[in-house]
């Protein structure tokens, strides 16, 4: 998996988008308790993990899944910070600025954390 392929990009886009949209539809249809629970389904992570199987097998697949999961764990912890920040900043700065700063912090925090663990 050293070169980018257009078909790979399209398949991943459709699967990723389908997973997120599909889990949102299921959450909406279920409603109530199970709808609330399903709204937090890790669709993007699962889609990214499953699409690794498109080009990798055996030990390579395990190594790529480990790398993906390590980065995703950092990203998920940054997600929690992002949501807390959005909850705080949206009321104080308005939703546009609040959401932009929160997502910007998520990206910066994730990149710094991954870079530090590599240093």
């Amino acid at each position: 998996m050293n070169t980018l392929s257009m078909s790979g990009i399209i398949i991943r886009f459709v699967l990723g988008g389908g997973a997120v949209a599909g889990s949102s539809i299921v959450a909406g249809r279920l409603g109530g308790k199970f709808g609330g629970i399903f709204a937090s389904f890790p669709a993007v992570f699962l889609a990214a993990l499953l699409t690794l199987r498109l080009g990798s097998y055996g030990q390579t697949l395990l190594n790529q899944s480990l790398s993906l999961s390590k980065g995703a764990l950092v990203g998920m912890i940054a997600d929690i910070v992002c949501a807390v920040m959005a909850g705080y900043l949206c009321t104080r700065l308005g939703w546009r600025q609040g959401l932009t700063y929160s997502v910007g912090t998520w990206l910066a925090l994730s990149c710094v954390a991954v870079a530090v663990t590599h240093a």
Partner: protein
Amino acid sequence: MDKKGLLLRFLFGGGAVVVSYVVSVLLPWKEFGGIFAAFPAVMVVSVMMMALRDGSEKAAQTAQGAVFGMIGCAVSVLVVLLSIRYSHNWWLSVVLGLVAWYLTAVFTYRLSRAHRSGVTTRARHSRLPLPRH
């Protein structure tokens, strides 16, 4: 759910998986691809849609509610990571990750309900008239 919200979720979700793939291929540090696999697509779209419909205050409440769900996602990823490392079984790790997500999501959902009912009770009590002596 309206079509606009669904389309945005599709675009954000698909975009995040593609960026995760492109970054993992182009950069020597493969973990950077994993960051984008954790992109909070559902929360971002939910906050945007809520803000456009009901304003920033309600959008902030949506973001606060997402914190509990994200704890479940983080636990799920941790379980997948540990399971792959120690069992070397890919499918087992994916299934264990889903089970861990479900159990944590149910627990955090109950926790959020208890938190919400506690806040409502406190708000109701704060509106009671002060006792006269």
